[in-house]
């Protein structure tokens, strides 16, 4: 499978098509077969973009770069997550040029979870720069063809300048702070060069609405492609755990009570997710970002439902190529 010259996700976003990105967590062992199997079974034909996490929650896993390349081999489009937690600017740029050479065209720039929460809490957290600086660095590679040092990107002195045409993403947490302050930060990310935003899982539409209004006030709902996050809860316990132990998660008590009271928790989880999707589709969002945490088998059904509902609101979309094409 030869990688595309530029991002298909970018083309879809540019054309105003509805996109569905799905998060994929690489395995905790050197096992490519595990990724291939999951991609073919759950992601192929469903995801416009496969978001490959970079040791999320500071838990050691296979690298995002490697798993993203497997996505390309399987005919899927990866969105490589890149965090500032484990690498300084040398490591980050090395990862970026490696990714570009391997055909990866989308990068999601994150600060990263602190090592304190992970499986190696005694490791040195790097945080050489923050996510806004990382976005600016990638954006400069794109616009000027220069590294962070100011050096031009060329194979040799006589060869052509290489401008890596990245599609740059950023993360947004619409909750937990004054919406206006959050929008100010997102405006910085936009100016630094972010093209799209993926948000933390949304459960509280009222809070999301306040954030959206603050984004609207700055015109950011137009100048950034926003993909709100949806995390279908599999059970009440998992949801409670996320509320208390996962940083940046905002889950209203009403949602937890609803999951506790449900006879069939999984059916209820799907219903909650789809109700949220319906309400989010009322906003001019560019797509949905799905987090199938510990529940990848739900992707095909949920993806079809989300697409169907998006189509009902008049949104257009491409069919996603199945595996191995």
């Amino acid at each position: 499978m030869t990688p595309p010259a530029s991002s298909t996700l970018r083309r879809k976003l540019e054309a105003g098509q509805f996109v569905l990105t799905v998060e994929m967590v690489p395995p905790r062992a050197p096992d490519l077969e595990n990724i291939t199997r999951r991609l073919q079974k759950f992601f192929a034909g469903n995801a416009d973009g496969v978001n490959v996490t970079d040791c999320a929650s500071a838990i050691l896993r296979m690298s995002s770069l490697c798993a993203s390349r497997v996505c390309i081999d399987e005919g899927l489009e990866p969105v490589m997550q890149l965090t500032c937690r484990d690498r300084n600017r040398i490591g980050l740029q090395s990862e970026l040029i490696s990714a570009w050479a391997m055909g990866i065209r989308n990068v999601l720039c994150l600060t990263g979870d602190h090592v304190r929460f992970g499986d190696h809490p005694t490791a040195k957290p790097v945080f050489d720069m923050d996510s806004t600086n990382l976005i600016a660095m990638v954006s400069r590679m794109r616009a000027e063809g220069k590294y962070c040092s100011g050096e031009e990107i060329r194979t040799s002195a006589k060869s052509d300048l290489i401008k890596m045409d990245w599609l740059i993403g950023g993360a947004a947490n619409p909750f937990g702070n004054e919406p206006e302050d959050l929008a100010l930060h997102m405006d910085k990310k936009r100016r630094a060069g972010a093209d799209f935003l993926q948000t933390q899982p949304v459960y509280d539409i009222e809070a999301f609405d306040a954030w959206w209004r603050a984004m609207e006030a700055r015109g950011l709902h137009r100048s950034l492609k926003i993909l709100p996050g949806i995390l279908p809860p599999k059970g009440a316990k998992g949801l409670e755990y996320m509320k208390t132990s996962v940083p940046g998660m905002h889950v209203p008590d009403a949602t937890i009570r609803r999951m506790q009271g449900a006879a069939d928790a999984q059916a209820e989880g799907r219903a909650i997710a789809l109700e949220l999707v319906d309400r989010l589709l009322a906003y001019p969002i560019a797509g949905i970002h799905l987090y199938p945490v510990m529940w990848e088998s739900v992707i095909p059904e949920l993806a079809a439902e989300i697409r169907g509902r998006a189509a009902k609101t008049g949104r257009t979309m491409d069919s996603v190529a199945p595996a191995g094409t």
């Binding site: 720069m129 923050d130 954006s139 616009a143 401008k163 993360a171 302050d181 910085k188 936009r190």
Partner: protein, 161 residues
């Protein structure tokens, strides 16, 4: 993190400790050697466990820090304080460049003068330019045509700060 003070002479060290005591009392200073408190509502962003200089991380919830939940999030505090004065809010909108770690553990005051390593704002005299805006503003910005001579037309040195 190696503190630059460890390879300096006695006079520098004396100055450093005086400056450090003053700034610790005022800002809970970390002696990053490139003070930007004027751009961050007179509040030191280095108190953030992730050393975020542009805004809160995604884990900041209800004013509390993600890493140490018993601590307040310094970025919530910076934003709150910035509401007091219009100039604070205005300065906060600027993008802070990545930290110069080669200055960490040195005197920011001496770095401004006489060492002239940083400008008054706490940044390098010629910080790396931030290309302004994304591809939706400038569809040509990321055009993949790698031509050496046509590159000047596309570069946009307009810094965000």
């Amino acid at each position: 993190m190696f503190h630059q003070i460890k390879h300096r002479g006695l006079l520098y060290r004396i100055w450093y400790y005086v400056e450090r005591r003053i700034k610790e009392l005022m800002f809970d200073c970390h002696m990053c050697g490139q003070c930007v408190v004027r751009s961050t509502a007179l509040t030191c962003p280095m108190q953030c466990p992730k050393q975020m200089r542009n805004g809160p991380c995604g884990g900041s919830m209800d004013g509390q820090c993600e890493v140490f939940p018993e601590r307040r999030c310094i970025w919530t505090q910076i934003h709150r304080r910035s509401r007091r004065f219009e100039w604070m809010r205005r300065k906060l909108a600027g993008i802070q460049p990545a930290i110069d770690w080669s200055l960490f553990g040195s005197s920011a005051w001496l770095n401004i003068w006489p060492e002239k390593k940083i400008a008054l704002g706490g940044h390098a005299f010629t910080p790396a330019p931030v290309p302004s805006g994304n591809i939706w503003d400038r569809p040509d910005a990321g055009a993949p045509a790698p031509t050496a001579d046509g590159s000047a037309a596309q570069s946009n040195p307009e810094a965000g700060r």
